[in-house]
Symmetry: C2
DNA sequence: CTGAAAGCGCTTACAG
DNA sequence: CTGAAAGCGCTTACAG
């Protein structure tokens, strides 16, 4: 498989490589119109497509950014990807999407791969263990923006939900419907650290603000496999909760599975709100009230932040945090 | 942001670029152990990471394949991506995922981008309009494998579901439960061409094989927005269907929305089977019987086919078709 | 208005 | 066992 090179075009058009290159880069100022046309025709005839590797090597920019998501199977991730992609495309950047699959080893591989491929910057859902790697890259002046999480030790710009607010909105929704015994369940593993901590904090604060009693038994962070059993324990308490906030989409699914299996009635037996909107929220019986993240906006902001870093001298950047505003979608589970 | 180059390492270790390069490429045969150690230490000290652009330019291989999905929001797509990725990682290849977003213009851009970035091959869910581009690439000897669709004019290897079988399994499931008035609805736009045609063909054949009457009114391919109204018309026929096969996950969602809105009871009023397993199938009330594609296997086979093409002289390849076996997941909607 | 030359950061065949 | 040299396919500052 032989590829056409710039020199083939040059020979075919009877000009030098330089001139073809000028043409490719749109520098027509000093080019005779007939030269221009000849080159255009040669490119057409030979079906020439420039080698981006060579160009990038020379120009020291790939016009490409890397995106590492923690888990591509989450709707949140795919929506964020879509949004980043839309914005980058407008700005003339490509994206390379990688799926770390909740696995720090994979994450590290991808970080290195993307860096080796000379991406101009990185947007990532940082998993956990690779904080030093990120800091090292940042110290080299490599543009990075985090999504969904803050890493306090790292001081790197982040875009994430106003998680405390999200929990607060949910609690207040329950309170407005006169629920008093309110529980929250989050994952400890699949849910990345920042959202979990902040959602629990927000929950606690909101409970206090509403002068409700904060019952430790109503407040659980457990591994994915234990969600159902944990919920079961709650429901078997002397005073079981009458409302439960699912810390993310995954928790919600587990709760609904348990609820279904045990023929518990929503909202009569238990009211439910989930953080993260899910495609089946409308389809469930009854439709589930959810707190939606502004994924489209968050993706766009992350892309903007990163492209700004790339364009400016990234050494001089001020890192900052953007908080997406949670929005409640009222349906019939509460 | 200055990056460390191979020459920096060479100087630091007191050897030549060549020797560092030999080290990087694992050719230790003729290398003194102390040279090896010195280089290792220099790489460590300088935090050197090779520039993959330069290497690929020289080696004429990027060890990277491109994956273009028609729509990344489909579960099918993300599962296929995961599977391709797993397999490629094992074989030492990276993947670059792109989302054509059902848009031929985007698709074309991505094809060109990936080709420009010198990916070693391409796995794609071909949308429609870019068949000539694909053929052109293939004629140049560029390895391509299609997913989910066959393009008869192109003779390019494809991996896709045994769609006729999938429809047949569904019809037989209905028949085994004594349903006679069986309908099928597919999308005409979002559903890519091959699956739709083949699923409808399989449906027709199965109806005939089971000596049922093939009612034209029970057989509809419509745009996404018209699914609900089309289904409504069906249900208002003198003899409405008693069972309906949803041509894909998207159709299923639309049908369920309508069914829910109109308080139709599954399976008493209408039995439902969906092609494509969906995350909420278990959660719906009643749980929905679905026909699952072996996504993991299909992704793996596609990756294998492509890597074979890449390794062999791709000019000599025999193109072939792999059909994934559909599997019924019996739940309670039929 | 166009071309010759140098160089981006690697790898590799070959010389010693 | 190691290094000098050429070259991958481009771009760019400069000469003319």
């Amino acid at each position: 498989m032989k590829k056409v090179r710039i020199s083939d075009v040059a020979r075919h058009a009877g000009v030098s490589n330089s001139t073809v290159s000028q043409y490719l880069n749109g520098r027509y100022e000093y080019m005779r119109i007939e030269t221009k046309n000849r080159i255009a025709k040669s490119i057409e005839d030979l079906e020439y497509q420039p080698n981006a590797l060579a160009r990038s090597l020379r120009q020291k920019t790939t016009k490409t950014i890397g995106v590492i998501v923690a888990n591509i199977l989450h709707t949140f991730s795919t929506q964020i990807i879509r949004s980043i992609e839309d914005h980058c495309q407008k700005m003339g950047y490509h994206i390379i999407v990688c799926n770390a699959d909740e696995n720090p080893v994979k994450e590290e591989k991808y970080i290195n791969m993307l860096y080796a491929k000379q991406v101009d910057g990185l947007i990532t859902f940082p998993i956990n263990k690779n904080i030093d790697l990120y800091k090292e890259l940042q110290n080299k002046g490599f543009p990075i923006v985090f999504l969904d999480r803050i890493i306090p030790e790292a001081n790197i710009s982040s875009v994430l939900l106003d998680n405390e607010k999200a929990a607060k909105i949910a609690v207040e929704e329950f309170v407005s419907k006169s629920y008093k015994n309110i529980a929250i369940i989050t994952t400890s593993f699949l849910d990345s650290v920042t959202p979990r901590i902040e959602r629990i904090n927000g929950f606690k604060k909101a409970i206090k603000e509403n002068n409700l009693y904060l019952d430790k038994n109503y407040l659980k962070s457990v591994d994915a496999e234990e969600i159902q059993s944990t919920f079961e324990e709650m429901m078997n308490l002397k005073h079981p909760p009458k409302a439960v906030l699912a810390g993310n989409d995954f928790v919600l699914i587990e709760l609904l599975k348990y609820i279904k299996k045990n023929k518990i009635i929503i909202p009569k037996d238990i009211a439910v709100i989930g953080i993260d909107d899910v495609p089946f929220a409308d389809l469930y019986n009854p439709p589930i009230t959810t707190i939606k993240q502004p994924t489209f906006k968050m993706g766009k902001i992350a892309a903007e932040m990163l492209l700004n870093k790339i364009k400016k001298n990234s050494d001089l950047n001020i890192e900052n945090i953007y908080r997406g505003k949670p929005e409640i979608l009222r349906r019939f589970s509460c």
